[in-house]
Symmetry: C3
Subunit: 649 residues, 3 copies
């Protein structure tokens, strides 16, 4: 199903009717509204104007469009900021991040918590039972523009209270964090400073706890909104629109209080931001890389426990990347079908019409500012017609491979990377890409998830493995492939007793005795059953299990170190593998797990949804899809052209 | 005529006499003084010491030197800053930019406005009628070191007042700026925040207005000084010394209250700062690029409505670029003659003698610190002798080609570049270079200027075209070549109704339906009557005029887009052209305009002044100038050596 | 002799006994303790807990280990910072650099001066006469993390007082600094602002004085501590542990009040930070460059007037460089012997055991966190055994070559580099490397040092030469090789009268009339007796002494400039020489000085200590050492393997 983001407050009311009618023509069923409209809803303290919104909702409903109503808390209005200036977040340098754009509040502000409760209650009461309202989105893109972490006095007070609850006494905190180091011991909870603004690096344990605290603040803030909505709007779903490559808060516990997850998919903008090589950047600039959107589809399907939407789908060039090219013709249709193939219930475009004013005026919409369909709008219409022909899509099943993704892992590796380019998101993305190049579907799961259904489990790295994570791995029947640095930290950011992999010693057949980070330009050959180069990182290990087989070794003139080890319960890779070593290792591991592999070209991806198989072509060359002889094509044909989509049963 | 900048306060009074005598020997007629001398003029509040300055002026006058007196407002003394700390500007991060160098005031400070009025009045009264004083310079290099834009509370108050005058009601402001976007609506003018310090990008409309406000503050501040001077110093000219590649305020309205414009020409330092490629940087490091000084000569000739000086001419290595090489021998003479060829009345060197102390001690002068002529001083002496031989130069006539230069265009493209490397100054410079490589003289004019005298008009881009600008284009008899993004914005930073080129639709035969910015490394071939590459930017257009001819197209495997379109009234280029495409397009356009073109080597330029033709050689190879058989050479000869100057009639 | 840094407060007391026993097994004699233990020594204001430290000292002493006791002032505890927040330094942007790591105090805080006096007195009284305590270290790594320069109100007051003492009247200050420039004159000492936070560059004279002031504050602070210790701990040595490539304060006057110098040698981390080319970085990443540790050994031998330690020796990978590779096997042993070869009395490793918690948890120790020797620990044990076999090492004699190193030179060139890449430390390092590639030992000496004992003196540059420095050069019997920019500044940061080399005109046979800085990619060939390229910088000179021989010239198509000049008393190099020109010039100079030269491969170095000759191999290839036929090898053999050490008599 298709949806769209619409801002009635941006347009003359006389246009609304035509807009609604044309939405239906495009094949749109859902309309998200009102997430930035606070200044129109409450133009002055306590003075409300909801009539215009009533009329908009009624009109959309009259046209058979289903409304996803939003809370407007992403944009507190100026009068509110002037009444309570300490709502504003503060950056690590002590600068207020004030009014003038959006997200100018810290999650730790009690005043803002109360103000949010007030406005959410008003909206929820007003529209909770409206027959046109089918669901809710809270706020908008929590954390966008680095707003999870704030460092104001308000944040400090909240963090101190959080610590007091967790640790009860300063001594326990000092002990847990190792504060004896550099005389960092704290006289009292009131004396705890935020872990910024010091002469040099602050305590990694403190920093990790601050990340956990900040993440919990986001979840608690959202839960407050969700509870109000549930009270006043029974039977409607509640979601939030998450972002791409965004790891500032832990989405796994957040997802637990939602009915479904949704995310904002801007694959071409994200490609510009990803640390690709220059040739890769040029290659994917107008299409995105074929794993960027899918990675997030698979992630948010996990976060939503199976139910998820694309809430904002890129409809053309955007405005916020350093460069914003026009997508290749067909690419918007491809993105839409790709999301559906990965199990999306709805793909909702951002936005109905390009705004000619404001910060995002260079962001395309399904319509141009002159009320004419844009190329992206034409492609959406095509999908609308195709969907009408095909009808309901089957349910999305479990994938054969589970990839474990952990937000804390990202924080841990940001806090002390030890090698400047050890980037968690890059590592995970490359491992995901390697699996999908073999034509396999992937489920992305949190540490601790039930792994029973999977044929193979991949853990690119997991520095801290909780008890639940260890138990889940131990309960897995499938083989597990672990990457470097797994098990290298305790909960309180210390090296585990007995050295890494600490609590995973029963699964990973090595002990890590030293670690080496390698600058760009410094690599070491890996030789053996799988070959390639060791880059960026090497765990120097001793083999601790006589049954483990060393498949390959890092070769230095002065020594050799195991690179890939196949243990009886888990495989381990000691290095950041280059593309050859990664592909070879993954092939070996997945074949050992009994999976059947394809070898897809770099621009082609396959994805299954129930009995349907989809193929997507991000590249310029035609590709012959590996459909069986008797396949029935619902979309496309055996020859898959540039930017083509095929679907067969 | 030659001039020099002199600081009597820097030297023992016993040296002055010798300095003046030797200035005359070098051929100097004008001496600029006193622009940083406030602390010597008024050592303590209300305590004045002007005797030394009286003596200096008298002495220079006695030696037949004409004095250009300055106001000392670029350097408010410490006692004044301590009395009124809020004179200091504040940067966008909220940091005070205090005492210790120069320009430590914000133009919005009413206190400083009054203090400036006071000191200017004192100087103007004292020297206004002195027979040795022939003209005035206000302050020094307004805006240097990023001082046009300041963000202090004083600025905020001034901006609020300016907005109140412009908009009368907050609603009108909200409407004009599109503040409904992201709930940015303002409760009152007092609530308007400066468009900085927000969580992410602030309103582009607000930012553009802040640029306009700040620019007007500079002009108003200068006008105050000029009015005082005119009152007390009748018959003397008033000027200000502008800078190179400087666009922070709009020079066109500023020029209107001056008698003549002047600028500070440091071609080698500017070359270091320009975004040249590395090979270009190496090629021009010791000479500058042959269009850097000329571009500004042509610009400030326009700002001064025909009358202009070089107030500060680079005399050797400077101190402020990242690297400061010694110029190639002959280059200082070349710069001097080049300025004269472009119509300068006076070329005044900065400075008479290198100061052995202070921030600029590594800046060369005509003299070394040991009171001996530097190489640059020797070259100035050569020019002095040459000028004495040649006598008065003829008036500078209209050029055949007008290039439209717009300060607001620069601001608009800085505020939302949409493609990171879409740099207005770079674009204009490349288009100017292309014209001059054909041996043509260029006038640089503001949008709205009368274009009647020109054979061809070039507009590299003009995102916002005012009514006056549109009218002037429509009144032009000459063909006009427009570059990409022309007409893409309204006055209040919005996309025009009906899409770009908005109000220029009568002249530009396209409608822009989408735009694409391309990262470095991503280019598309352009094929057709003129060929090359499309880089950085592509306007995707529909042709709106059946009489328009598409000369070339951008070629993508998936589509073709017009690249160069010759319409009945104007040509349009949809892309940032590479050198080949730019040269080809410009050649086609200028030939179509009926102009006769030369093909000059990259290091050679030609310029006419009245009946005289000048040639300049920036390169290492000798060049045979295209002088007629019967040419009479006033300078040089037919064979133009490295760093050579030729002039023939 | 070997030592180690130990933190009893980091470990269960039950481990101490085993630690002490195993230290002895490794061959360790000295143990440094307590430098970060303030919060354990004084957990709350005036409440002391020294019992644990008593027990630790007693236990170490009982095991025959000699204790180096430290003052804990590098880490003022939280309660102290909360009582006196203005102890914290402030950065140049006005941000407080607060609690949370270490070194969070400014040397100008009188409160902290008093608090330091108090705690030092307590420690010194308690342990001054303990038989196990043989020496003292004050504080830890003064200046680490950019903490010499602070810009708080406290610093401003202290600087004003310092200026008042130096200049007596503001007029003298204005005159000395050239404050007439830009009206920078000061009404009073109270009005002097710190030379930061201005609109553009502040006075170079003011900045240089601020550097001198800040340096003197460090020395005075340390002297306070030393005097207290001497009073209470007679017969014990006092030292401080200096750092690598660290020039923020002047170490020469500091060294005068110490008994011996010591420094913290992290050669592999330092290699990562040095501005090597990318190929050099890759080549030396796992070994360090073979002159990085030696340069500092020779420097701190000078600072300690012959007596010095390595207080912290890198034992494996560290945590603080962008990348931290595992050292090549054998490299830790090599570093240890290399320090001893250069004359170290003790090499003390940092640290006994890797801490599993805190900021430095990724920093290796001699032991892994699991109480097992690390590879570095094994190598230290090897050295321990070798030392036991060889016995006492002979005294280190004078080297044939003196290299003059000046901290002020570094400040002067940082304040106004004039060419962005004119880096003092890089220049000196390259000149040092060139000398050592000829197999020569080097003494590093301050300007003004007695040069009588040397056969050759090398001065890579010395912008300001004090009277003492000039006198010492004039008294030298050895020839002196001066580099570019020598003598180019006065004490108060001005160009000397009569132009550079100012007071060195009697020794340097040129006058510098212009200077040129060249961007990367712009070089000029040098031709003549020695050849190569001129890079980065060229002094344009006139020859002032008829007896001077121009050995080589910089060749430009338009001119030639002397590049290397051999004067009767000194040689002068006018440019930053590339490797060829530097090697050729140095060879010519050293041969002219009558020295016999070897040509060592890039990875091999030789060093003598008394009658012993050592050779070190940083590279992967075996090298045949140039030992005489009848040499007796105490370490290694004639064939020196990768990472090998040889020592013969």
């Amino acid at each position: 199903m298709l949806g769209v983001c619409y801002y009635p407050e941006h347009w003359p009311e006389s246009w609304w009717e035509d807009d609604a009618r044309r939405m239906r023509e495009v094949g749109i069923s859902f309309v998200r509204i009102a997430e930035f409209a606070w200044s129109r809803i409450e133009p002055a303290p306590g003075r409300f104007d909801l009539d215009w919104l009533d009329r908009a909702v009624d009109l959309l409903h009259r046209h058979g469009l289903k409304v996803v109503m939003c809370t407007p808390t992403a944009t507190p209005p100026k009068w509110l900021m002037d009444l309570h200036p300490d709502i504003a977040p503060m950056d690590a340098e002590g600068r207020v991040r004030g009014f003038g754009s959006r997200r100018h509040y810290t999650f730790s502000s009690e005043v803002y918590f109360d103000e949010s409760r007030r406005i959410v209650e008003i909206i929820a009461k007003r529209y909770g039972a409206h027959p046109g309202v089918v669901g809710w989105q809270t706020d908008n893109e929590y954390g966008c523009h680095d707003t999870v972490l704030s460092y104001s006095p308000v944040d400090r007070t909240a963090f101190q209270a959080w610590l007091r609850r967790r640790y009860q006494s300063p001594d326990r905190l000092d002990e847990a964090w190792g504060n004896v180091f550099w005389s960092m011991e704290t006289p009292s909870f009131d004396a705890v400073a935020l872990p910024v603004g010091a002469v040099t690096e602050t305590s990694p344990a403190a920093r990790l706890e601050y990340r956990r605290f900040a993440s919990e603040q986001v979840v608690a803030y959202d839960r407050m909104q969700v509870e109000i909505i549930r009270k006043h709007s029974p039977g409607r779903f509640v979601t939030h629109n998450f972002m791409g490559f965004f790891t500032e808060f832990d989405h796994w516990p957040f997802g637990e209080h939602l009915d479904l997850a949704s995310w904002d998919s801007y694959p071409i903008g994200f490609a510009e931001r990803f640390p690709f090589s220059e040739p890769e950047h040029a290659r994917w600039a107008e299409t995105s890389h074929p794993d960027i959107a899918p990675f997030h589809h698979d992630l948010y399907r996990g976060v939503g426990r199976g139910r998820w939407w694309v809430m904002e789908q890129q409809p053309g060039p955007v405005n916020w990347a350093p460069w914003n090219p026009v997508p290749k013709p067909g690419q918007i249709r491809l993105f839409t079908w790709e999301a559906l193939a990965h199990g999306a219930e709805v793909v909702s475009y951002f936005r109905w019409r390009q705004a000619p004013f404001g910060q995002e005026q260079m962001h395309a919409g399904l319509n141009r500012p002159d009320r004419t369909l844009s190329p992206g709008g034409e492609e959406a219409s095509t999908v609308g017609r195709e969907l009408a022909t095909i009808g309901a899509l089957p349910a999305s099943g479990k994938a054969p491979v589970a990839l474990v993704f952990d937000y804390e892992a990202c924080w841990i590796l940001e806090i002390q990377p030890q090698g400047k380019d050890f980037d968690y998101r890059e590592l995970v993305f490359r491992w995901y890409e390697a699996i999908r190049r073999f034509g396999l579907d992937v489920d992305i799961v949190p540490p601790g998830a039930d792994l029973a259904a999977y044929r193979a489990v991949v853990v690119p790295t997991l520095p801290y493995a909780s008890e639940a994570a260890v138990a889940a791995f131990e309960a897995s029947n499938a083989p597990i492939l672990f990457g470097p640095r797994t098990g290298s930290k305790t909960r309180h950011y210390a090296i585990p007793e007995g050295l890494p992999p600490g609590p995973l010693a029963s699964l990973i057949p090595v002990r890590v005795t030293q670690v080496s980070s390698l600058r760009p330009g410094l690599t070491k050959p890996v030789e053996g059953a799988v070959a390639g180069l060791a880059m960026r990182w090497i765990d120097h290990v001793e083999i601790k299990d006589a049954k483990a087989r060393v498949l390959s070794e890092v070769v230095d003139p002065a020594y050799r170190i195991p690179a890939v080890i196949a243990g009886p319960r888990g495989w381990y890779v000691t290095t950041w593998p280059d593309a050859d070593l990664l592909t070879g290792t993954m092939r070996g591991f997945l074949e050992a797990a009994g999976l059947e592999l394809m070898d897809l070209p770099e621009a082609i991806r396959i994805r299954r949804r129930g009995a349907l198989t989809f193929a997507f072509n991000y590249g310029p060359q035609t590709y012959r899809v590996p459909a069986p002889e008797d396949a029935v094509f619902l979309l496309g044909a055996r020859e898959l052209p540039a930017q083509g989509v095929a679907c067969w049963r």
